[in-house]
Symmetry: C2
């Protein structure tokens, strides 16, 4: 193997080890020594292929976002799942509900990996790389799509903010539900609540058209 | 001073020290040694007045929830702030908006203390004390009130779940906004988004009445 191939292969082994470590113990349990042992290299050799452990975490997190994107993509155009009213507005609301339920189920099934995306903080001065931001943007594009149907006259620069707020609202329901910070609640109840809130939001966005 | 008074006075000094420590360095920066030094006692003496440091954190957190309750109480019956439609439904929606904005501003002004409420996890097997749960319940009662106007026919046992979901949605907007996990956003934009989402939710809950 050439040096560049060896480096690439070591990098992939380290990312896979980081992913397994996060799945097993969460982000805070990740140790350079254990990743090196799993990937079969010396601890110092990690820093020949990545700048620091943050780069490994970002590589795992972007995979998580890519998995989530596939999950959301699978909900597009699926049969109606709870919008309740008919026509284009109902279809867009039903699409919001399906995406929110997709997000909830993804987080419930991949809790540690999903947590790592939100727990990870870059050190001051280090910025998110472009390939990470691109993946974030692709995810938000999914949310913006039904919002364009619900609020067709919203100025273009506002869609990003609205998509972000809608995602944040769903994220709040999922995170406080799964972490049981407000007491235990079943996944079935969480699904029902997510459906009720997103249905109300979709209808309210239609009713709030300028 | 009698022994019980001395114990009570030491306990209060430790809670005050814990509160200052959380304000300054966040929950993860709290050290028993520093609390003892500030309260003028030996490290071991802490455990004469509280079972463990979790009890000190819970005492700080319940104060935070009490401050938040006062903030929400101040929004009740205040002049309309964004509901937009008239009558009882408009008033209830406007009240939801004011409470959400009150929560956002409280979190922005007391970020470390507010974070500590959500970051703190009790060790397995230890349960939240009754006085903490009572304070949580008082807070949720504020949210349930306008929901009764918006969905008068909802079965009583459902109000608690809906209030919790609504709080979670607002919490999501506030937490991802203030932590800047999705990129920086100004407090003014966050306020505008919170208003838009809660207004849509209020209207949608009215439109979703059975």
């Amino acid at each position: 193997m050439k040096t560049t191939e060896r480096r690439q292969s070591l990098k992939e082994a380290l990312i896979a080890a980081a992913e397994r470590s996060i799945d097993a113990h969460g982000l805070s349990g990740m140790k350079a020594r254990e990743l090196a042992a799993e990937a079969g290299c010396a601890v110092g050799a990690i820093y020949n292929v990545v700048a620091d452990l943050d780069d490994l975490v970002l590589a795992v997190n972007v995979r998580t976002l890519t998995m989530l994107e596939a999950e959301l993509a699978a909900t597009v155009g699926a049969p109606s799942g709870g919008g309740g009213n008919s026509g284009a507005d109902g279809a867009a609301t039903a699409q919001l509900v399906r995406m929110a339920l997709g997000y909830l189920r993804f987080a419930a099934a991949n809790t540690q990996r999903w947590r790592a995306v939100f727990e990870h903080r870059l050190p001051d001065g280090k910025e998110l790389p472009g390939w990470y931001r691109d993946q974030q943007r692709r995810l938000f594009a999914f949310i913006e799509h039904p919002l364009r149907d619900l609020q067709p006259d919203l100025p273009p620069e506002q869609f990003g903010l609205l998509a972000r707020s809608l995602f944040s609202a769903v994220h709040g329901i999922v995170v406080l539900g799964l972490e049981e910070k407000l007491g235990a609640v079943s996944l079935a109840d969480l699904e029902e609540q997510t459906t009720a809130i997103l249905t109300a939001l979709g209808r309210g966005l239609v009713a709030s058209r300028p």
